[in-house]
């Protein structure tokens, strides 16, 4: 089973035709067809069929490429590890997180860690599939709105914050110390959408409990986007209060939502693996609220 044949098959299935695969792989269409025929011969499988005058992937080709994705990912990870060796980041702390926290409480905490342990703590930050990254050993530490129910993962509470509203400083709402739900009537609301992975996400639960979940008109993944949209006059952002420490809200007014349930930031790591020193220091720093 040749890697190059599988890569051609993957492009053929993903892009939906031999011409498209040829374009994507920057090779000739006849070379693509030849590679597919060779793969059929090597694997003993029908991978290509003609349907309505067009070469199409068979169900076997689709099943094979779907199951090849973890193998491709493993090769990518190996190449990534080699890259990390080359740039001297083998002993890095690998953090997987969500954009909302990566752009608020994480940067000052990482700065504090580097200061505490002599600027010798390489860090790699990645997003998405938090639990999967931890389970696969691709990440040492996760920071989320958790908690994560997965067995074998430790949930550590870091900080709590209410939901806050972000709007123009000239907005009449800026005159209030806190914002009630009735103040948001008729306003277009901007907030984070569910990530589809963590059902126990404390941010989404806070939105639901306050009755705001169904009222969000614009969903974003990044706090930065939410603040930019507020500056553009698109509406009022409902985010967590951790954002105040980020500087993203500079020039904007931030007020807590009255009677908001707590949004909680959690750290997670695998119980069966030893968390390195820089990771333990980072957790301590993340537990200290920003001044």
């Amino acid at each position: 089973m040749k890697l190059s044949s599988l890569q051609v098959l993957d492009a053929f299935v993903r892009l939906g035709g031999t011409g498209e695969a040829a374009q994507g792989l920057e090779m000739s269409q006849s070379a693509v067809i030849k590679a597919l025929r060779l793969a059929e011969f090597e694997l003993g499988l029908n991978l290509v069929t003609t349907l309505q005058g067009r070469l199409m992937p068979t169900p076997e080709a689709q099943a094979l490429t779907q199951r090849a994705q973890p193998a491709f990912a493993a090769l990518r990870r190996a190449r990534h590890e080699a890259d990390m060796m080359r740039v001297g980041m083998v002993d890095r702390l690998r953090i997987v997180t969500v954009p909302g926290l990566a752009h608020s409480i994480l940067p000052p905490a990482i700065t504090a860690v580097r200061r505490a342990i002599g600027d010798a703590a390489p860090v790699e930050i990645m997003f998405d599939h938090v639990a999967a990254h931890l389970a696969a050993g691709d990440a040492d530490l996760a920071i989320t709105y958790g908690p994560l129910p997965n067995e074998g993962l430790r949930n550590i509470t870091l900080q709590e914050s209410p939901l806050v509203c972000v709007f123009f400083q000239t907005d009449p709402l800026a005159a209030r110390d806190e914002i009630g739900l009735e103040d948001l009537a008729g306003r277009r609301l901007i907030s984070y959408g569910p990530d589809g992975f963590s059902s126990a996400d404390s941010f989404q639960q806070a939105l639901t409990k306050t009755g705001l979940a169904s009222r969000i008109s614009i969903t974003v993944r990044h706090t930065d986007s939410a603040c930019h949209l507020v500056r553009e006059g698109c509406g009022v952002a409902i985010v967590d209060g951790f954002v105040i420490s980020s500087g993203l809200t500079e020039g904007l007014a931030v007020r807590p939502l009255r009677a908001s349930p707590a949004v909680i930031a959690y750290a997670h790591h695998r119980e069966d693996s030893h968390l390195q020193h820089s990771g333990r220091v980072l957790i301590t720093c993340l537990m200290e609220p920003a001044p």
């Binding site: 089973m1 890697l3 694997l43 003993g44 499988l45 029908n46 069929t49 349907l51 309505q52 199409m56 992937p57 068979t58 169900p59 076997e60 099943a63 094979l64 199951r67 090849a68 973890p70 193998a71 990912a73 493993a74 090769l75 990870r77 190996a78 190449r79 990534h80 590890e81 080699a82 890259d83 990390m84 060796m85 080359r86 083998v90 696969a136 050993g137």
Partner: protein
Amino acid sequence: MSELTPTQARILLAVHRFGTTIEAARAFNLTQSAISKIVARSERSLGVPVFERRDGRLILRSEARELMASLSTVEAEWRNLRDTVADLRSGHALPLRIAATPSIGQGLVAGALRNLLATHPDARAELIMGNPVAELSNGTADIGFMFSPRVSDDIALTPLAEGAIVALVRKDDPLAARGSVDLAELAGRRLLCFDRESSPLGWLIAKAHEEAGLDYAPFMTAPYSITVAHLLARDGDVSLVDSMLFEAQRFEGLIQLQITPRIPITICMMTARSRPLSHLAARMVEIITGA
């Protein structure tokens, strides 16, 4: 810089496990110099040295520990992929999904399945007794079989065999000894049959009644011949069903009579024009059509 391949990953792992190129060469049935060349090429692909040469042995560099762990994942994933290829080849990975009405499923399809399993003993099949047109349109079946179906343009129809509508009566019925019966003679009997709107057979039978100047008014309707036959054993005094039912299954106490004039029916095979067939499904089509 060429790309790291799964074979290179396996050889790097073997050299690490055995500690020498001689033993790795033995394990792969290659020469020692071939292994040395592959190690050198792999290190070039990765862009980093993986081993230190010490006293004739190749020792893993301390900073390459994570890389080696990721190469183990590559090896495991590629092993899984090879198993997937074997499962696809045997028909085990992609079950053949056939939707058929019961009398076709238990007769024609069961016989063809027996032939298919003779050459593909590890194949998996799912025989769905439901609405074949709907199952095919939803993509939950690969092939559908039913009598004289009404279908949309995206379904290809292949007529397979001719049959006829027959009458079923109980053994003690005065008609039981007759062998055949005219539709007109059934007027006034309690008829257990199909709905003219939802069943193609019901539509054909209703049409035959209209052409004979008779009312089609069954006192009870059911979707399949087999259900009708089971019900007749308890209630009603005559049923009209397809002639394949008795070929597939015997019903104690029921007698089959030919109908005059004859109401012909056709068993049709259905496939989706826009979806390629799996190898097993294509083989099944060949068996059924005698190709």
